[in-house]
């Protein structure tokens, strides 16, 4: 089971990594920020899977911090874009 969860984590990160193409291609900076947002969500999912696979609690805490700060970065982006 642990192996399946790890595979799922790798799959999710690989998927959102492909989404990073939007970071490189844009065209608008909003698209780039969306790619970062998707990477954050994928990272959260992968960390939760990792925590379940290894039985360690630490990745869940990191996931929580990522969830908070992904939103924070997006707000900073929107505010800076509207100025």
């Amino acid at each position: 089971m642990a192996e399946f969860l790890l595979c799922a984590a790798v799959f999710v990160v690989a998927t959102v990594a492909v989404g990073l193409l939007r970071l490189l291609r844009g065209p608008a900076n909003t698209d780039r920020m969306m790619a970062a947002q998707l990477l954050g969500t994928g990272g959260i999912a992968a960390l939760l899977l990792l925590a379940a696979a290894t039985g360690e609690p630490a990745p869940v805490d990191v996931a929580m911090a990522l969830a908070l700060l992904a939103a924070f970065s997006s707000v900073a982006f929107v505010k800076s874009a509207s100025r």
Binding site: A17, L23, L24, M33, L39, P59, V62, F72, A76, S80
Partner: protein, 315 residues
């Protein structure tokens, strides 16, 4: 099977880090580069997890990506008018090639050194583990930060304070002691207000959680302070509160309280335990918690004010 999977994952992750870093450095538009830096920080957080350093992963996510990213995004937006002029100052092709060659040789030298590091690696892990019970802590990184190498942490809080003084001293005379940053009007966007109202209380709980578990599990005051700072900036951006004038006495007291308590406990060590920053036997854990509790508000306020910048208006 699992090992091969892990190595493949590491390869992919390392490649992504390098691609995003290269793009961030080479892309034309600075605002786009700042967004790239945020994504780069997220990727580094995953790298730190792979290097079995969850404490660093948390710090990178909070300070490296979140707070620094915000700072760069804001500055890029302000400096947009200057971009075209700066573009013309780019050094010529030959020059860039020479610089690239030099930088590549620096990288090659470092990479070679890393690959030739002695095996087995010298480590202080065993010493840290052996000395851990004396501190009463369960998290070795926290023990290093606040007991074994606490002088580093003390100086670091002083550096943060000095940086804040430096930023404040950049204020023009007429707004000295005023409020940093532009005023964000209240209720400019219901969605932003909603987000700030939901996220900020949640963030405070999460920060306290990190602060509290930091003694025994990954977490601690830096991570907690960075999240608190982020939440304070968020409610300011949403226009729910204004940034405080930096001349306020409470603000200055909060900012210096952490380093002052740290120093006082350090001198207490000279008097009672025979060395600066030594903890009397049996009192290590309560004293460490006292230092952390005093540092948390200081660090949070200092981080947020560093992002806010120098005072810009008197009212």
């Amino acid at each position: 099977m699992t090992d091969a999977l892990a190595l493949a994952f590491d390869f992919g992750l390392a490649a992504l880090v390098l691609i995003v870093a290269t793009w961030t450095l080479l892309t034309r538009e600075t605002a786009a580069a700042a967004v790239g830096f945020v994504a780069y920080g997220l990727l580094l957080t995953l790298v730190w997890m792979r290097l079995a350093a969850p404490d660093v992963a948390l710090t990178e996510a909070a300070i490296g990506s979140g707070v620094t990213g915000t700072l760069l995004l804001g500055a890029a937006a302000r400096l947009r008018p200057t971009e075209a002029a700066a573009e013309a100052e780019q050094p010529g092709k030959a020059m860039r090639f020479v610089v690239a060659l030099l930088c590549a040789s620096v990288s090659a030298g470092i990479a070679g050194t890393i690959l030739m590091l002695p095996d087995p690696a010298p480590t202080l892990a065993a010493e840290a583990a052996a000395a851990l019970p004396e501190t009463g802590l369960g998290n070795a990184v926290t023990a290093v930060l606040l007991s074994f190498r606490s002088i580093d942490t003390l100086l670091e809080t002083v550096v943060l304070l000095l940086a804040l003084l430096g930023v404040w001293s950049l204020a023009p005379d007429r707004v000295w002691g005023g409020r940093p940053g532009p005023r964000d009007g209240a209720y400019q966007s219901e969605v932003l207000t909603f987000l700030a109202q939901i996220l900020a209380p949640f963030g405070i709980v999460v920060a306290m959680h990190f602060f509290w578990i930091g003694a025994d599990a990954p977490g601690g005051k830096f991570q907690a302070a960075a999240i608190l700072a982020a939440m304070w900036i968020l409610v300011q951006r949403a226009g729910l509160v204004d940034s405080p004038p930096v001349s306020r006495r409470w603000l200055r007291l909060v900012v210096v309280a952490g380093p002052v308590v740290f120093l006082a406990i350090g001198f207490l060590g000279s008097a009672t335990a025979g060395a600066f920053l030594a903890y009397p036997e049996g009192y290590a854990k309560p004293l460490i918690i006292a230092i952390e509790a005093a540092l948390l508000p200081s660090l949070a306020v200092a981080l947020a004010l560093l992002v806010a910048g120098p005072p810009a208006r008197t009212e």
